[in-house]
Point group: C2
Chain length 189, copies 2
């Protein structure tokens, strides 16, 4: 099923929490760039944004992307090329929304994710799927690294998806696993 | 929903294919150890086996596991401890089936995965879910690294799950993403 709403994916590296609830900036990892690009290509996502305020980290993302999209890695038109062409580093959530508005003519509705149960703004996977398949407002699906998106971001988030559970109480998946599962729940065939 | 069948997860590093269809042995990666352990803990899997014929690579897995389960990383009883306690390196598929038989008293039925559509032994996600929820034969869910499980392994595989698609033709997810999505399809709540 093709979504009618343009869908964007973003991985936030600041402001996020550490295990003690303090605000930190996590490092961009090479594997998050690649795995996220491949998830974005699989699920027909418009762009996969890596959000970090650190200029050198954004330069790293640009370098990895360029290698596969314009540089030596691009010679053979590979799956990696398709995936990496969707990757883009940005400085903060504001710049991310500006970029989406620039492309779509509308600011996105932001759907947050969290491993913690949240009291408000909850949206079920089924309802989020309906938003994607029946509406046209751009959506930004936001994931936090570390121990999750900092509370200061909450006012910007329109809706929250529930945490992922299997048949256990354990809910400490990697952000790569969470992105994969949530996209499959929303758009898997 | 708790499965009635004991479920095991394995990641094969040999024999697997490279992009030209040649048989290779891939390297175990630190992230595959961690992400797989966290997936296993989330979905109530009995053991997560990393299969490689290379002794040094199995020693590496033991070392990473020990750090979190018995060593310095184990001091605070963390989620990482729970996840890493499920990780075990083994030399080949035979040893993996032996190990499961040792624990369960029965050899497992092997469910293979592939990014390529397969002509035979196909099982739908719904039918595989029913096997898990209604039967008691142990099941081993097998994933290949590189460009997938080598054909020489096929005779050992009882059933194959279909490849994962989103709303595009692109199906080059990382093996970490594929493991996450397939376990969620089989056992997600």
């Amino acid at each position: 099923m093709k979504p009618t709403a343009p869908l964007y994916l973003a991985l936030l590296h600041h402001p996020v929490l550490d295990q003690h609830g303090e605000i930190i900036t996590t490092a961009v990892t090479n594997l998050d760039i690649h795995d996220g690009g491949r998830i974005a290509a699989t699920f027909g996502i418009q762009r996969y944004f890596l959000i970090t305020p650190i200029l050198e980290q954004r330069a790293l993302v640009h370098r990895v992307r360029s290698h596969w999209v314009e540089g030596p890695g691009a010679r053979k038109k590979s799956a990696r090329h398709t995936a990496m062409a969707l990757v883009e580093p940005l400085s903060d959530l504001q710049a991310t929304c500006d970029q989406i508005e620039e492309r779509e003519g509308l600011r996105p509705r932001i759907i947050g994710t969290s491993a913690r149960p949240l009291p408000e703004k909850k949206v079920s996977y089924q309802d989020a799927r309906n938003l994607l398949l029946q509406q046209e407002t751009p959506l930004l699906l936001l994931f936090g690294t570390g121990w999750g998106i900092a509370p200061s971001i909450s006012p910007s988030i329109d809706l929250y998806l529930p945490p992922i559970y299997g048949p256990t109480e354990f809910n400490h998946l990697s952000v790569r696993s969470a992105m994969s599962i949530i996209l499959d729940r929303l758009l898997g065939s």
